[in-house]
Amino acid sequence: MSRKAKTAVYGVLCLLALPFLFPTWWMVTSSLKPVGDIFAFPPTLWPSDVSFDAYAKAFELQPFARQYFNSMYIAALVTVGTLAVSSLAGYAFARIRFKGANAWFVVILVGLLIPSEVTIVPLFKMFDAWGMVDTHWPLILVPILGAPSVLATFIMRQFFLALPGELEEAAKVDGLGRFAIFRLIALPLARPALGAVAIFTFLHSWNLYLEPIVFLSSSEMFTLPQALTQFVDAYGGPMWDIQLSAASLTALPVLVVFVIAQRQFIEGLAHTGLKG
């Protein structure tokens, strides 16, 4: 590539990168500005004097630590649960020959076509009947067992299909049962696929918004996305300084983990993940 072409490509990349970088930058720096400076003109790219007041207020106005914990533990449970359910089912559909396997696989795949918004009304009534409204059960059970885990099962099946069969044959000759073969041989080999599934499952749970606002009503049960939108003044207008500091606290930890492990994130998703 010529020097000129290189400069052009870098120019385009830097320009395009702006809307991707600027919002996060603006979120963090604005959250550190004193309230009066948030809408100052001309806009300052760096807070003139750093203030953590808004961060403190986020914890005063709502049980924010509790809400943080809610989001964390729900996402962790959902991730572990989805890994178990999807690797078992994916393994069976890929490696075990049994009657009806293909038919059941197609039946389960139907779940991929059903947006969660379609089933939210009946799910609300079902969990209401079971006395589980305003608990975390709907946010845990539905992602692990329902439509969201179907994509995970599909990815695990694709991965197990590509695994060479010799190892399993040898284990069978040694007298290992199905579950032992799955647990001791197939699962350790499936680490890249499990990693990809874990990442997008965690993000999916971490991002849920419709489900929490439908199912949860008391603030100590709230998850982070729902809590973020609750920092409003008496007129329903957003308290920007607090919303931005709470948003920073929500976004930054995941972002930091991502930047450290970006290769595993991106390549895991690209190569094991959604290769149809």
Partner: protein
């Protein structure tokens, strides 16, 4: 006796069903039962506040046909989905092609373009909402170069565009990564042969790259279209469906009817419509695969 009953294939059948049992039971309980209930509810007039649940046959569907707001919602949905898919896929492809060059720093840029994918959706939307305020960061930056920016989220014309751009920047990294993987799978000797034959870069892109990555284009377009019909948090935070009904997409309208106006029966009817649209679009795209997807493995 029992050892003879448990032949290898019977064992495998039992194991197979035990392995898929959680997923199967879960699908029945949380996918198929609710789907059946949605159809059942859609045949009822159900007012939660008055606690009435009466069978009304096709009345909700008649109401659907007569609902003037529904047309607005469908237009908004169509506009949003079309805008999102076109912008998302073309930007994703452009970024993937740029990052597929042998250049220093591509890993850095790849990280940058992917990073919004891992930022919490509501946090991301709140920041953009802040930036797009009349006196917010974007208009502030525009003003320093002498441009008086509009009130993005309150203008009929600009609100939808703003929602689309916010969503594209959030998720384009995912499609970019899938395209990048596809581009790296195109055999280099095809380009070498084309260069020898004197084909231009543009010609090579259209005649080699696009056909070779067409399965990925199909996959990403299905994912993006189906995803675009589920946009909720962005609308709820950025515009609440406004101004007027200009950003009230079908999902948001469904949420309003069911959970704000407590018309569960009509909400269920809108769910049936949403399901029908998703099913139809997926089938159409899947059939198109024969026409324009170059090779199938």
């Amino acid at each position: 006796m029992s050892t003879r009953f448990w032949t290898g294939s019977r064992r495998d059948t039992l194991a197979g069903y035990l392995f898929i049992a959680p997923q199967l039971i879960g699908s029945v309980l949380f996918v198929f039962v609710p789907l059946g209930l949605v159809f059942w509810y859609s045949l009822h007039e159900w007012n939660v506040l008055a606690d009435t649940f009466t069978f009304v046959g096709g009345e909700n569907y008649q109401a659907l046909a007569d609902d003037p707001k529904l047309a607005d919602a469908l237009v908004a949905t169509g506009f949003f989905s079309a805008g999102l898919v076109v912008l998302n896929l073309s930007l994703a492809l452009l970024l993937a092609v740029l990052l597929n060059q042998r250049l220093r720093g591509t890993v850095f840029f790849r990280t940058v373009f992917f990073s919004p994918v891992v930022v919490s959706l509501v946090a991301w939307t709140i920041v953009w909402s802040f930036l797009l305020q009349d006196n917010g960061g974007i208009n502030g930056l525009l003003e320093t170069v002498g441009v008086d920016g509009p009130n993005w989220l309150r203008g009929e014309g600009t609100a939808m565009i703003a929602v689309i751009v916010v969503q594209v920047v959030k998720n384009v990294g995912l499609n970019m990564v899938l395209f990048l993987a596809a581009l790296q799978g195109v055999p280099a000797n095809l380009y070498e042969a084309a260069t020898v034959d004197g084909a231009s870069r543009r010609r090579q892109f259209l005649s080699i790259t696009v056909p070779m990555i067409s399965p990925t284009i199909l996959l990403t377009s299905i994912i993006t279209v189906v995803g675009s019909l589920q946009v909720f948090a962005q609308i709820a935070v950025l515009t609440q469906g406004g101004p007027g009904t200009s950003t009230t997409v079908l999902v948001y309208y469904l949420y309003q009817q069911a959970f704000q106006f407590h018309h569960f029966g009509y909400g269920a009817t809108l769910s049936v419509l949403l399901f029908a649209i998703v099913l139809l679009l997926t089938l159409v795209q899947w059939r198109m695969r024969r026409k324009w997807v170059f090779h199938e493995s």
